[in-house]
Amino acid sequence: MGDTTTILIEVFFETMSYWWVILPTIFLGLVVGGIPGFSAANTIIILMPLTLSMSLEVGLIFMVALYCASRMGAGIPAILVNIPGTAGAAATPLDGYPMAQAGRGQQALAISFVASCLGGLLTTIVALMTMPVLARVGFYMHSVEMIVVMLFGISLIASIAAQDMLKGLIAGFLGLMIGSIGTDVVYATPRGTFGFLELYDGIPLIPALVGLFAVSEAFVIIEKKLIITEKAKAAMATPNWHATFEGAGLALSRWWHIVWTSLIGLIIGVIPGAGASIASFVAYQQSRSFSKTPELYGTGHAEGLIAPESANNGVTSGTLVPLLVLGIPGGATAAIMLVVMQYHGVSFGPSLFEDSPKVGYGMFMAMAVSYLFMLLTILPLSRYMSRVTTIPTIYLAPMIISFTLVGAFVPREYMFDMYLALAFGVLGYIARRTGYHVAAILIGVILGPLLEKYFLWSLKKSDGDIMVLFSSNIGNVLWVCLVLSLVLPIVFGRIRRNKARMVTQ
């Protein structure tokens, strides 16, 4: 223990001495995270020759800082212009964008930054302290258990549908149907691909994401002069720090919310193959289910923004756990880190903390220091970033469409994906104009294929026995939790209404 503490102190000061790497990388990460289609993973790949030429410490700090900053950066356009930079930020605009539309973009950004940094920092510390235990989560969360986790996220469709049940469910099922396009995960039989090879791997997420949210938003906002109201613009005419402090205060006053939603992200992050998109939707769903004011979600509610942002930053530290302890990368970025570290002769896995403890602890320390630096350097920028919402839509809408089309092209470099983003944009526009919730469609598109994958794996493992869904103790506990999380809010809601009625009587 004493040795570990000494190593941690040494590593902390060493990491701090690399501030000259961390600071520029944070800004690079914010930019690449904010552009749809770009991510820490493909940026590290693009910069691979540079990364490989760096020393082990510098390369490690560079990759980790980029990873954290890009995760946080993805939330910025999601809040300001309804463009989630990555699938992990898909739940962020649900409450972030309504805040920006109401002229509270600065507060929304501050909430997002504080929730991201504190969530990331907290989960990094928890991961560091409980690494051996956390690494075991993947040993218990198999396909059967993951089906229930997916259902937590997908049940959000029902919450959204509560406002207009029929339309919400139609939108959700449409999303699930779109999500089932592509080859099946067992025998690779193509379904609903219309002969397009580009759809064999399923609907690509980024074109669907930017199409449904951003392109359709551009079509909508072009019909008015500004994203925000004239009144809100007048209020924003005199920039001040008050809104930033107000946003930070809102987030800090909900510190417990940050804690538990970021822990959801951490636990989902340590499961190999699960990711930020699952975590953010599950956290949002749980946050809404146990809120005293669920009706405020989707209207610009602080907790609706805190939940996905804390959770997706919790995933960041979570994905490092299986990588360091088991040698199994928890996500795409962790997989590329593995390649780079192996180039430097570092072998991940059970022997890492015996052979190279400084590398193991160093990665978490780099993450913690990056979040600290981000909190101090990025929070003040919310005052200036929020000005984006005051740009007239005649400039903003074409910029959004241009950026998003480029973003749709980047991940796979297929022209097809740009057309697909436009098609999803038209679908999203029609949905908005006819009162269907695009988020319900998107949840189906994102989580549907994952649910199907785990479901087919489970069935294949059991030779088609449907009772496999209830074959695991942990899975059964999760089923009970799922039912409770759906039923309890209704019960609590009734109790609150009864109490309110009694008070008024």
Binding site: A41, V186, G273, G327, I328, P350, R412, K460
Partner: protein, 333 residues
């Protein structure tokens, strides 16, 4: 005068044609001699950052000096590599400036399951960079730590086995083993090498089969029990025996083999260019810098094995035959 009269219209035309032919032909000759004039585009039908990417960069870092030009990769991993082959390689000019860096194991096997939209004779592989035998492995904490454990456990239940995808040489290796031992295994496609390793380590499946390079990269988290070929790396694969030695079988090696391919038309229309490509490819293997680059990219030196177009064609043919033989089991048809 007579000589002047000889230079008639026909003579003029003949001379003109000859001159024109020379004029038109010369640039072609000059072009051939100056090949390559630009970068060589290479379609890679797998994702960036993976094993193919690493091997490609290592190999071309030396080959580029032999050929005197740069190689420009483009990654198109969609539809098990079919997007790369059909949409991008298919649409590129057959002029020896466009190559594909594919895997003759899983990718060719996939064609046996689902016939591609192109004639598979449109391309051929002319140079193998490396070959990597598939293997069977368990997680370090698995209760199954030997092949005997696996055989004993399979008597009481059908064991689940992770594989990268159904149409994979490792899957065929396992099915052949099952046939030999009279055991029915339940193959679970875990979508890629990372998932397959994770499946074995975390207990999602009882054990997994995969190309050995990825298994070696997983380090201490896994233990290899059997190689579907020859174990030429010894300790790196836990000294696991080859399947033929262990069970007296006569199974061809189940390999992942990365190779450069080219349009057949390009090789036929530009034989001099093709000759230069294949010659410099061969010469690259004689350069000691290749081994250094390969090792720097964490490649197993024993797996760096040259094969020419003829050997590649034989390998491809054997994969298609194996695919046809096991199609029912691998495609669920």
């Amino acid at each position: 005068m007579t000589r002047t009269s000889d230079f008639n219209r026909r003579g003029f035309l003949k001379t003109g044609m000859a001159a024109s032919s020379m004029a038109l032909g010369l640039p072609a000759i000059a072009r051939a001699q100056s090949y390559p004039e630009g970068n060589i585009n290479v379609v890679i039908p797998t994702a960036e950052g993976g094993g193919a990417d690493r091997n490609f960069r290592a190999f071309t870092s030396v080959w580029k000096d032999k050929l005197g030009t740069e190689f420009e990769p483009s990654f198109f991993p969609g539809a098990s590599g079919r997007v790369g082959y059909e949409l991008y390689m298919g649409k590129s000019e057959p002029d020896c400036y466009n190559l594909i860096f594919g895997n003759m194991g899983p990718e060719v096997l996939n064609w046996a399951m689902q016939p591609p939209g192109f004639d598979i004779d449109d391309y051929f592989y002319f140079g193998q960079v490396d070959k990597d035998p598939c293997c069977l492995f368990v997680g370090a904490e698995s209760p199954l730590q030997t092949m005997d454990d696996i055989i004993a456990a399979s008597e009481s239940r059908k064991l689940t086995v992770g594989t990268s995808r159904m149409a994979h040489p490792a899957s065929i290796g396992l099915l052949a083993l099952g046939e030999e031992l009279g055991i029915e295994f339940n193959l679970i496609p875990l979508q890629g090498g990372k998932g397959t390793v994770a499946g074995a380590v975390t207990g999602e499946v009882d054990f997994s089969v995969l190309t050995s390079g990825s298994v070696i990269a997983a380090g201490d988290s896994v233990k290899t029990l059997l190689v579907f070929g020859n174990n030429i790396v010894g300790e790196a694969l836990d000294n696991a025996p080859g399947i033929n030695d262990a069970y007296g079988m006569n199974l061809p090696e189940m390999l992942s083999a990365r190779a450069f391919g080219i349009h057949r038309k390009a090789a036929e229309d530009f034989p001099d260019r093709y000759e230069m490509l294949s010659r410099t490819f061969r010469e690259t293997f004689d350069d000691p810098r290749l081994m250094e680059a390969y090792l720097a990219n964490k490649g197993q030196p024993e797996y760096l094995v040259y094969a020419d177009a003829e050997e590649c064609a034989a390998f491809m043919k054997s994969m298609l035959e194996l695919g046809a033989r096991y199609k029912t089991l691998l495609s669920g048809a």
